[in-house]
Amino acid sequence: MSASDAFRARVAKAVADRRVVQAVHLATWRKVSARQAGFALLRNAEELRDLASQIKQHTLENLPQYLEQFVTQVRRVGGQIHWAKDAAAARAIICDLARGYASHLAVKVKSMTTEEVDLNHALEAIGVRVVETDLGEFIVQIDHDRPSHIVTPIIHKDRRQIAAAMAREIGCEYTEDPTELTKLARRYLRDIFRRCDLGISGVNFGVAETGTICLCTNEGNGRMSTTRPRVHIALMGIEKVIPRMRDLAVFLKLLSRSSTGQPMGSYTTLITGPKRPADPDGPERLHVVLLDNGRADILRGPFAEVLKCIRCGACLNACPVYRNIGGHAYNSVYPGPIGSLVTPLLNADRRHDDLPRASSLCGACYVACPVKINIPDLLVKLRAATRARQPWGKRAALRAWCWAMCSASTYRQGQRLMRTFLPDDGEGWTTRGVGPLGEWTATRDLPRPPSKSFRQLWEEGLADER
């Protein structure tokens, strides 16, 4: 099966599961309205988005300098720095550290970067038990599932599935009450937190000025995992650095509002080095692993803008495609509009060529993006960049389409032909095209042209009617 067929099969499967589609619709709409309410409380939301975009742009343009400053400051406050050029290097560094500290039980804060490098399997292969501590990620882990949203990983699961997984995997009593389920998970994870010896997190922002890493969570797992174990390893994408502590204010005002609509998440933790000798608790060692994994290449190219992303998930919630196919259909760590850019860019092979094409280019993601990444524009550019790998027939058909649209006479002829030959499958839509059109309408509906064009109506006196 080609990558394209596999993608279509996943989409067909996802769309057919009404329960999941409904759950995702409900959850994303809730988040969209929460985001709007959160932004409405800002005096100057648009200006903040501009500032955030500008700070990220400036940082990306000067990335090596800011990383050097960050590295220097982390060292100054007693942290260790490592550099991982790719996913394999990141896994090797973190596994080496875990071995060196003789770790047996690692607790993990929800982190997209560690998903990106597929860290858990590597650690488990060397005998370290890894426990996800974000409630959603914990349930994904015990149910041997995959996250389907970058902020709310179990957006696709209902309480019955969660209750069943919890009862089966951790041996607690069966209950479908979210409050009770949360309590049971709390009790189970508390025991883990008492025994763990390694904490692993991602990084939301790294402040160059002070060598501080910022973690944002609502549950407190970010704090638990960086308070209880004696070692803390943070895996940080190199694009996560920001210049100054005060720049953080701009991003924090936007991040939670974009994710959940909250003005600020429950816990924003700023970690500057390991525990000081007189502190009663906290990790004695702090390791920050800087991850490139293709980011430097993206930075040099025409898609550098994607590196501004702060992983808030607003574009997923806003996207009509994501809402209908859910996260799993993307078959990628990063789903949704931003994932359709990041995934093919980080994995430069043809497996993900369909992702930038699975978009209606409606622009809802651009409007929602707190750092104003022009996602639809980049999707079009990415389509163009991978055009040569598209099937011959499709390229020919699109070339013909382009030619026809470029001249008034062929355009008019085309309209006439479409009116004659497009079958009407009800309510003015063509859902089953014939011939080469069948390929197109297999996954999309085509609006039928009206019986008379605007030009005809105009000629017949529309102009006089007002």
């Binding site: 500008q54 402040v207 909250q262 429950s266 816990y267």
Partner: protein, 261 residues
């Protein structure tokens, strides 16, 4: 090169792993072609949502309540210590320090603890300049003892995981977001505001800053930051199961903020 960018060779001066230094050099070479045309913007007035001239206590109360915290404003000018403290003074009295102006907040702490049937409470304060200075702390301890609540002040594992509540001071509060800030340091356990099921934070009204920006700007200039700044806005919460909001996932399920007016 942009004027705002930091100096190029800072990494040379300190003890950075040669592999990391080499990687940074490589990144510099790789990205030489990236045009540098965007300046770092000035922020101050463009970022602030709340100004210093506003009613900060009220803004704090609104925002913290919206985040799920319980805010208790306690006046310090009440006249009758006995009634405000909720009961007769402990046998033998608590000395002249327990003057009228200081007891209303203690009554609130006792009320909260008693309503939850608390038997033990961790008292984690170490800042001489905070709302819980040594005098206030001493008063509180005496009242708690009179109520039969064992006060713990050593934040070891056993204590953190077993106490019924933690009472802490804060290093700052933020009106815009209803946030309290705890920091790590000698005597200041990160776990105190995190592990016990109820967190009672005592804030002096003067500690409330207008905007998140004000706080971050202030600590950005600090060359000697504590290892951990914990910005806390409401109790621990999750909505991972069908979007239903549940408090107390990992951290405290209840956050009470007592503001001393």
């Amino acid at each position: 090169m942009n004027a705002d960018a930091p100096r190029a060779d800072v990494a040379q001066a300190i003890n950075v792993d040669p592999a990391v230094r080499e990687a940074l050099r490589g990144l510099r070479r790789q990205t030489e072609s990236v045009p540098r045309r965007t300046a770092l913007p000035d922020l101050a007035e463009r970022v602030r949502q709340v100004g210093a001239d506003e009613d900060l206590v009220r803004r704090f109360e609104q925002a913290a309540t919206a985040a799920g915290a319980h805010v208790h404003l306690v006046s310090q000018t009440d006249q009758n210590p006995g009634r405000q403290a909720g009961a007769r003074l402990p046998a033998g009295g608590i000395g002249p320090r327990a003057d009228a102006k200081r007891c209303a907040w203690i009554a609130k702490v006792r009320e909260l603890l008693q309503a939850r049937g608390a038997k033990t409470a961790l008292l984690a304060t170490a800042r001489p300049d905070s709302a819980l200075n040594s005098e206030r702390r001493q008063e509180l301890v005496m009242f708690l003892a009179a109520d039969g609540i064992a006060e713990q002040s050593t934040p070891d594992d056993e204590t953190l995981f077993s106490v019924d509540a933690a009472i802490t001071d804060v290093s700052a509060a933020i009106a815009e977001t209803g946030t309290i800030v705890c920091v790590s340091g000698p005597g200041l356990a990160r776990g105190a505001s995190l592990i016990p099921p109820v967190h009672i934070a005592v804030v002096a009204a003067q500690q409330i800053l207008p905007d998140l920006y004000d706080y971050l700007e202030q600590i950005g200039a600090d060359a000697d930051l504590p290892a951990s700044h914990m910005l806390i806005s409401g109790p621990s919460k999750t909505a991972d199961i069908e979007g239903v909001l549940v408090t107390g996932m990992h951290g405290p399920g209840e956050l009470h903020v007592i503001v001393l007016m």
